[in-house]
């Protein structure tokens, strides 16, 4: 039996039993989102790990300014939510029954229930609610037969980690986006998934796979 069929009902049951309003509890960002001291700058290039509940970009943004975000996903670091293929815009392929039903039942538990699974999110500041769903534009579209059949995803060893920030890796797909900051503060990234609460913590982020080398620059327009 596919593992999501086992884990999803388990999570629904667990969350119900524990009475944990997951998206609300995910607002505990002051603990989740931490700025590394002495690392702030006006531009940033870093490796984003999809398991991170709130990854610091190393960058401070300023209100009213527009920022270009380039996400490079090398083939060996391609994204998936366990066995479900994904990219910075969300799931790549339509889910099939019964997984589609199970995932639909768990949508209310996502950190942002009204946004797609695995949508790349950015937030400004460790406190407050200045959050953006990045509108993702891939430089190259997937071939039409990409999901027929759905690509098989290999489970990675638990110890995997993204390459060091200083290291560039060639190839893969590029995804572009931009946003205009509504406030000043440090910039964080995460994908929309279930987690962040005091009970589940990062439990359901641990089955995420994938990295992106993210470059953020202030738009000159």
């Amino acid at each position: 039996m596919p593992k999501p069929l086992v884990t999803t009902p388990l999570v629904v049951a667990l969350a119900t039993l524990l009475g944990q309003p997951l998206p609300a509890s995910a607002a505990n960002y002051q603990t989740l989102c931490q700025v590394k001291e002495g690392s702030a700058s006006d531009t940033a290039t870093f490796w984003f790990d999809t398991r991170s509940l709130c990854a610091y970009s190393g960058m401070q943004v300023q209100q009213g300014r527009t920022y270009q975000v380039k996400m490079q996903v090398p083939d060996q670091w391609r994204w998936s939510d366990r066995q479900i293929p994904a990219n910075p815009g969300g799931y790549e392929c339509p889910l099939e029954f019964p997984l589609s039903w199970l995932m639909a039942l768990s949508t209310s538990m996502r950190r942002h229930p009204d946004l797609p699974w695995f949508q790349t999110m950015v937030r400004i500041g460790t406190a407050g609610d200045d959050i953006y769903a990045l509108p993702i534009k891939p430089e190259q579209l997937l071939p039409s037969e990409h999901c027929d059949p759905e690509p098989e995803i290999e489970e990675w060893p638990k110890a995997w980690r993204c390459p060091p920030d200083a290291v560039a890796v060639e190839g893969g797909r590029i995804f572009n986006s931009s946003f205009t900051a509504r406030s000043d503060g440090p910039l964080f990234f995460y994908v929309n998934d279930v987690g962040g609460g005091s009970v589940l913590g990062d439990l359901l982020y641990r089955n995420n796979q994938g990295c992106a080398r993210v470059t953020i620059t202030e738009s000159q327009q």
Partner: protein
């Protein structure tokens, strides 16, 4: 609920008794003393000291051996450390592979009292834990900054950074950290994973709060006066999934002379240590972390509880190694000669 889970895991981890040495089958433990240099001095678990020219490097010193009942209230056993660890002012490097208590609990005491001139090299998490007891003036090196890294989740093999070596103060050693991984323990539940992002105020009390951090293997070169490698040693303190922990190619076409590898949890990891031995083909393999470290009398050696068929591991190493290569499973506080050049 969390406490119940912890106690359950603790019970599972320490279930059963330490096993008699007869469990080792035909393995003959090595118990050499007063060897001439160069030699490894084994402290038990994954602890070693290696002196070379006028410097020394210390790996994972651990002497406290708390009993299962003490695992929720851990403190370094100062008497045992003082009895076991010789004062080594010539030590300029102290290397640690990961931050679980059986590798890090005694390190702060050793740094403060036994190796006053050693710089600490380890993961960020290990550094954050040790700062609870080691002053900010004392030099720590973040090994993750120079760590050889895997270009994909499954390899093929770690890649050395351009400036991936740490050099010792007087130039007798250099050490390269390598991205590695930690075997699951007998419970298969990863309750001791995780990391710290900030310095701790006190050393953790519960075993569970000695969080693993980034697990590292180490490549250590013993250098001559001209900076040329005389010996190359590969050290890891946890069984790891291939190719995690594998030595990268530092670009000098030099092989590995000695591999130091742990026995603990070996059976939980596929193709361990066969894949590592195939890749390194060393002249000498030193098997450590084989003995029980949950309390007990250090003079009355037992095999690690829960560990299965250490002789099978020995046979795997033997059949994978070149015929002329040696395998040593040392008794704690004995010495191991490095292979002749």
């Amino acid at each position: 609920m969390r406490w119940m889970l912890m106690v359950l895991v603790l019970m599972l981890m320490t279930a059963g008794c330490a096993q008699d040495l007869s469990q080792l089958g035909p393995i003959k433990l090595s118990d050499e003393h007063k060897l001439t240099q160069p030699k490894l001095e084994y402290f038990g678990v994954a602890g070693f000291r290696l002196r070379w020219r006028d410097e020394a490097v210390v790996f994972d010193p651990f002497f406290s051996r708390p009993s299962p009942l003490q695992l929720l209230w851990l403190t370094p056993d100062v008497k045992r450390i003082n009895d076991g660890m010789p004062r080594t002012p010539e030590a300029t490097m102290l290397l640690v592979g990961h931050a679980h208590y059986d590798h890090l609990l005694d390190v702060a005491w050793v740094l403060n009292h036994k190796t006053p001139n050693a710089t600490f090299y380890g993961s960020r998490t290990a550094g954050h834990i040790l700062r609870a007891e080691v002053s900010a003036e004392r030099e720590f090196e973040d090994a993750e900054q120079k760590m050889a890294w895997l270009p994909g989740p499954n390899g093929p093999r770690p890649i050395a950074r351009e400036d991936g070596w740490f050099k010792s103060k007087k130039g007798a050693f250099r050490a390269m950290p390598i991205q590695s991984s930690h075997a699951p323990n007998v419970t298969q539940i990863d309750l001791m994973g995780g990391s710290y992002q900030q310095d701790l105020k006190t050393l953790p009390k519960s075993f569970r709060n000695w969080k693993e951090g980034q697990t590292l293997a180490w490549l250590v070169d013993l250098l001559d006066e001209n900076g040329k490698t005389v010996y190359r040693i590969h050290f890891q303190d946890s069984s790891s999934e291939e190719p995690y922990g594998f030595p990268p190619d530092p670009g000098d076409n030099r092989g590995i002379d000695v591999v130091i590898l742990p026995v603990a949890s070996w059976i939980q990891v596929k193709r361990y240590p066969q894949a590592l031995i195939e890749a390194t083909q060393p002249k000498l393999v030193v098997l450590c972390h084989w003995e029980d470290f949950f309390g007990g009398d250090p003079d009355d050696l037992k095999v690690l509880r829960g560990e299965k068929d250490e002789y099978a591991l020995y046979r795997i190493v033997r059949t994978t190694l070149p015929q002329a290569s040696q395998i040593v499973m040392p008794k704690p506080f004995s010495e191991i000669a490095l292979p002749p050049l």
